[in-house]
Amino acid sequence: MNDHEKAWQRLVKAARRAPGPTDDAAPFGFATRVAALAFESQRPPVSAFARLSLRAALVACLLALAAVGVNYSAIRAAFADDAAPAGIDDPVEEVVTIAS
C-alpha cells in the first residue's frame, strides 16, 4: 500500500465515524402519497370495446370522405340542377307565355 492509499484509508476510516442521519423511516404521508401517485400513473388500459369504437368512428369518417370524393361530379351536378332557372316550372309564366 503506497502513501496515497494509506492517507485515503485514514480519511475514510475517519469519515465512517462521522454522524449521519439516524431516521430512516418514511416521513409522515410519504408512503400514502407515493402509492396514490403510482396507481394514478398506472390507469387501467382503455377497454377493447372503446378502442374498437374509436377505430370504427375513424373508418366511418374516412369512408364518408371517400364517398364524397368519388361522387363529387354527381353531387356537383345535382346542386347545379337545383340552381337552374326556376321559370320553367313556374305555371304563371307558362300561362303568360301561351297567352302572348
Binding site: 492509499e5 485514514r10 480519511l11 462521522a18 449521519g20 430512516d24 408512503a31 407515493v34 396507481f39 398506472q42
Partner: protein
C-alpha cells in the same frame, strides 16, 4: 436492508399487483430505509433525497410486473435505486474540480494530517473527513464513485456490491481498481498544488 422480519413481503406484493393501494403504501414504508440509505450515499448535488426516493418507488411500481423472483426483492429494488442515482449523477455532466484553495481551513488541516501523519485522523475531525471524502469522490465517474463508496465507506464485500448493483464481480473489481488509481492522481494533484 429492511429490518422488519415479520413483514409478509410475498403477500404484500400479491396485493400490490391487484392494485391494493394500502398494500402499496405498506411496501413503501417497509422499503423506505433501504432506498433512503442508497439515496443518501449517492445523492447528486441539487437533488432532494425525498424526491429521488419518490422517483425510485414510482419506477418500482411501474416495473413490478417484471419482477420474476430470481433475486430477492430487496436486491431488485436496490438495483433500481442504484441505476436511478447513477442516471442523476450522469445528468450532472461536469464533475467539480477540487483545489486546495477550495478546502476550508479544517478540511485542509485534516487532509494534511492524513497525508503527513502516520496516526489516524482525530475522531473530532470525522465530519471534515467525510466532507473531504465526498469532495474527492465527486470527481470520479458515477459508477466508480459508487463502487468506492460501497467498498471503503460502507465496507461491503465485492459479492454484496455485485448483488446490490447487478454488476458482475469482475466489473466491480475493475471499477474499484480504476477508481483508486484516479483517486491517487487527484491526491497527488492536490498535494503538488499545496506544495507549489
Amino acid at each position: 436492508m429492511p429490518d422488519d422480519q415479520s413483514f409478509d413481503l410475498a403477500g404484500c406484493l400479491d396485493r400490490v399487483r391487484k392494485r391494493d393501494q394500502r398494500a402499496a403504501s405498506d411496501l413503501v414504508e417497509y422499503l423506505h430505509p433501504l432506498v433512503i440509505r442508497i439515496c443518501r450515499s449517492h445523492l447528486p448535488r441539487r437533488v432532494a433525497e425525498e424526491d429521488l426516493a419518490q422517483e425510485i418507488f414510482l419506477k418500482m411500481f411501474t416495473r413490478i410486473e417484471q419482477y420474476q423472483g430470481s433475486v430477492p426483492f430487496t436486491h431488485w429494488v436496490s438495483r433500481i435505486a442504484v441505476t436511478t442515482c447513477i442516471d442523476h449523477l450522469r445528468a450532472q455532466k461536469r464533475r467539480p474540480e477540487l483545489r486546495w484553495a477550495d478546502l476550508s481551513e479544517r478540511e485542509a488541516e485534516v487532509l494534511d494530517s492524513a497525508i503527513t501523519s502516520e496516526n489516524d485522523v482525530s475522531p473530532d475531525d470525522a465530519t471534515e473527513a467525510k466532507e473531504l471524502v465526498h469532495k474527492l469522490l465527486e470527481r470520479l465517474k458515477p459508477e466508480d464513485r459508487m463502487v468506492i463508496q460501497y467498498l471503503d465507506l460502507e465496507q461491503k464485500s465485492v459479492a454484496e456490491i455485485s448483488a446490490l448493483t447487478g454488476w458482475n464481480q469482475t466489473l466491480v473489481k475493475v471499477r474499484a481498481f480504476r477508481a483508486r488509481r484516479k483517486l491517487q492522481r487527484f491526491y497527488r494533484e492536490l498535494i503538488e498544488e499545496e506544495r507549489s
